[in-house]
């Protein structure tokens, strides 16, 4: 019998109040001190989840003069809800996707309803997903095929308005 601890497993439960941290380069910060929506992307936007890390962790190893950290809440995504865009219907969810050296790594994933089936929008192939990833077997198609600029621009602007600066760039 060994005493080796079990490796931590991803936890796909996100509370609405949990914050998600994202590093932002200086060039994407307006003089107002807020990150512009050009700092955000879809699909598969990388963030660090607050339950497993801090804002400081998100900037560890990066030059504080050039990198800031912003945060938005899971409820801002909005999670587990559909976003009806003209005649297109989208769904967004946070997913806990640990990376080597960064257990808190998570992603904002997006689906679009195609012929009554929500289809994951991603450029990844099934083998690019971790074993056990809940979306590994999802029907999928590429951003070029399914992600309408009207939707992703509006959503990213929505995140811009919701996001708070938690670690500004340090003065040079």
């Amino acid at each position: 019998m060994t005493n080796n601890p079990q490796p931590e497993q991803p936890d796909q439960h996100f509370s609405d109040a949990e914050r998600l941290f994202r590093r932002v380069r200086r060039e994407n910060i307006a003089r107002s001190g807020k990150a512009t929506f050009l700092a955000f992307n879809l699909p598969d936007m990388s963030v660090n989840r607050e339950r497993e890390s801090s804002a400081e962790d998100a900037r560890k190893g990066y030059d504080q003069a050039d990198w800031a950290v912003v945060a938005f809440a899971v409820k801002d995504i909005p999670p587990r809800a559909t976003w009806v865009q003209i005649v297109q219907e989208y769904q967004l969810k946070p997913r806990h996707v640990p990376e080597p050296g960064n257990f808190s790594h998570s992603e904002v994933r997006v689906w679009r309803k195609v012929r009554a089936v929500f289809t994951l929008i991603t450029s990844r192939k099934p083998e690019d997903f971790l074993p056990g990833d809940p979306d590994r077997g999802e029907p999928r198609d590429t951003p070029e095929a399914l992600l309408d600029p009207d939707f992703h621009m509006r959503w990213r602007k929505h995140i811009e308005l919701a996001a708070k600066m938690v670690l500004p760039c340090e003065p040079v």
């Binding site: 590093r23 932002v24 380069r25 060039e27 994407n28 307006a30 003089r31 107002s32 001190g33 512009t36 929506f37 050009l38 700092a39 955000f40 992307n41 879809l42 598969d44 936007m45 990388s46 990066y62 990198w67 600029p149 009207d150 992703h152 621009m153 509006r154 602007k157 308005l161």
Partner: protein, 173 residues
């Protein structure tokens, strides 16, 4: 003299603001300072962004710097801005300069490409030039929350039509 635009009201102030400015127009300056204090630094920042907008040389330098960014420049997986995206952004900036309406900033986009931002008060228009050659613009009012988007043709006629829309949207002309 510069104009500070605040919700439902316009006041004027001398720049730079200093004790010496509290002369003949001191009351108006005090009004401006009161508005800034009431509305917080966001108002002042917006004012600074409008009046301190980039000049042509700064924009050109920024676009040149953006063109050198590598894959993953955002520390995640953002594609490097493509030559075609940067060239399209330069084409719009050229035409905007000719129209006398330079953008206030250009920046790389995490979607892959280049963003060009025009702004006036609480309204902004951001056009995103994507790496594969297409472009899309967002028209947004931060106070009203209204938003609309439209595709932009990346040719001279398309830029001229777009800049006319920008002028109308930002200045209600």
């Amino acid at each position: 003299m510069a104009t500070i635009t605040v919700p439902r009201k316009k006041v004027s102030a001398f720049v730079p603001i200093g004790p010496q400015a509290l002369g003949g127009d001191g009351e108006r300056l005090r009004q401006a300072m009161d508005e800034i204090l009431r509305h917080g630094t966001q108002l002042l920042d917006r004012y600074l962004e409008e009046t301190g907008g980039a000049d042509r040389a700064t924009i050109d330098d920024s676009l040149d710097a953006i063109s050198l960014l590598p894959h993953g420049w955002d520390s995640y997986s953002a594609p490097a801005p493509s030559i075609v995206a940067v060239q399209n952004a330069k084409g719009l900036v050229n035409e905007a300069d000719r129209f006398g309406m330079l953008p206030i900033r250009v920046e790389p986009s995490a979607m892959g490409g280049v963003g060009v931002r025009f702004s006036n008060g609480d309204r902004e228009v951001v056009v995103e030039f994507y790496n594969k050659g297409s472009a899309h613009a967002l028209f947004a009012g931060d106070v009203t929350g209204d938003m609309r988007t439209e595709p932009i043709s990346t040719d001279l006629a398309g830029y001229q039509r777009f800049l006319g829309e920008v002028r109308t949207y930002l200045h209600d002309k």
